[in-house]
């Protein structure tokens, strides 16, 4: 697409994918406003996490998603699949997919806890709620593993663009908000959360 950069919706939210294109157990990487974000469908629930490990900056969303592992003794391992964690591919730090919080802290306090991975607000909208934005090219839809919407360069990997694919009102879309989930801000000694200009300020 050549022309105007993608606009955010008036409420600062971005449509990033069709819901059906992120099947259960899969993950899609998208770029919104220059920020790479992993969109996960875990047990039918959508989650979005900034693709940056708060430990050393690795591409966090390249890591595995695992359940909670506990043990009552040597050789006895229990897997709780109802709690899911993203595991950083560099150092194995685990982040709760629901809260973004690093789950582990050393028991003796010798090791500092790591900062919270940054969760991103996410919701699923019916296409009928997005018709206006999709039809005027303000929002774009990507598909498949590795497909990326790059709002900054306005280039899209993968075949889907709003102009080429008419909106089906029955479709569901995944909408991402760059506003951080307020209850999950960083630790008191961490840097202040970044602020994002609203769509009206950009205009």
């Amino acid at each position: 697409v050549e022309g105007e950069p993608a606009k955010s919706r008036a409420d600062g939210k971005y449509v990033v994918a069709r819901a059906r294109d992120i099947p259960e157990g899969s993950r899609l990487l998208v770029t919104v406003q220059g920020r790479e974000i992993g969109i996960y469908n875990i047990d039918g629930q959508f989650h979005a996490v900034l693709n940056r490990c708060p430990h050393r900056g690795a591409a966090l969303c390249r890591g595995d998603v695992i359940g909670l592992i506990t043990s009552t003794g040597p050789g006895e391992i229990y897997l709780d699949t109802s709690r899911k964690f993203i595991v950083c591919p560099w150092h194995g730090w685990e982040f709760d997919i629901n809260t973004g919080k690093s789950w582990y802290q050393a028991p003796d306090g010798r090791s500092r806890g790591f900062r919270t991975a940054r969760p991103v607000g996410i919701e699923v909208k019916r296409g009928s709620e997005l018709t206006d934005e999709l039809s005027d090219g303000a929002t774009e839809v990507a598909d498949g593993e590795g497909a990326v919407i790059n709002a900054a360069t306005h280039r899209i990997e993968g075949p889907y663009r709003a102009e080429l694919y008419p909106v089906e009102h029955d479709d569901e879309y995944v909408v991402v908000s760059l506003r951080r989930i307020s209850a999950l801000s960083g630790p008191p000694d961490g840097p202040p959360p970044p602020t994002y200009r609203s769509a009206s300020a950009e205009a």
Partner: protein
């Protein structure tokens, strides 16, 4: 004078248990001897009945330089050509045994087990455990029964005899002992009748006045539960 029980080879854990039970009532035995080159890592659970027998009888597992009758090499890549190579390489077998005993959860299963690493010095211990600690943080879900740092487990369950004394600088030894986190992990040992030609005064100069008698006697007395009255 106190002694170690000589056990059957590690191919025969049941025989090891039998021998411990046979002689443990003699209080002159305070330890059972395990050659460091065992063929099967000592953390494996086939040895747990042996450690349970030790713990039951208040005995220490003493891991000492040398191999069993399997003809096991001191390196994972086979036999070196010269004694100097074997002498230097042996530490990696101790490292592997320590790692195995910790990682397999031996001390979670047998909390009363005590292990003495003999005849390998102690200068290797801090670096090896920094590595284990660091990797435990990232890979601990492989060993979820370990609920604290490997180094913490080692401080509680291991002691190290001081010979051979690899370093010959008082300052360097003082630094190493600081890294160990406690001079109470060190037991005087000479490997008699073998000799390593260590200058013990360098080591004694590296620890505090308080620590010297501990290192030379009290640490071992505590570890082997030799009450003053028994002397």
């Amino acid at each position: 004078l106190r002694a170690s029980i000589l056990l059957p080879t590690s191919a025969n854990p049941a025989g090891m248990v039998d021998e411990i039970e046979r002689v443990a009532a003699d209080s002159r035995f305070v330890q059972a001897s395990f050659p460091v080159r065992s063929g099967i890592l000592y953390g494996k659970r086939l040895f747990w009945p042996v450690y349970e027998a030790l713990a039951r009888n208040g005995l220490v597992a003493g891991i000492h330089w040398g191999g069993s009758n399997y003809g096991l090499a001191p390196t994972p890549s086979g036999w070196p050509s010269r004694y100097i190579e074997e002498y230097v390489a042996e530490v990696q077998v101790y490292e592997s045994q320590l790692m195995s005993l910790v990682a397999e959860g031996t001390f979670q299963r047998i909390p009363d087990l005590r292990v003495t690493m003999m005849d390998i010095g102690f200068t290797w211990v801090p670096m090896w455990l920094w590595d284990m600690d660091r990797n435990w943080k990232g890979m601990r879900r492989e060993v979820p029964w370990l609920t604290t740092y490997p180094f913490e487990i080692v401080r509680e369950h291991f002691r190290f005899t001081v010979a051979p004394l690899d370093a010959d600088s008082r300052d360097e030894l003082a630094e190493l002992i600081k890294w160990l986190g406690s001079d109470e992990l060190l037991l005087f040992g000479s490997d008699y009748p073998h000799t390593h030609d260590d200058d013990l005064s360098v080591l004694l100069g590296a620890v505090s006045d308080d620590a010297r008698p501990r290192l030379m006697a009290a640490n071992a007395r505590d570890w082997y539960r030799l009450s003053a009255a028994a002397e």
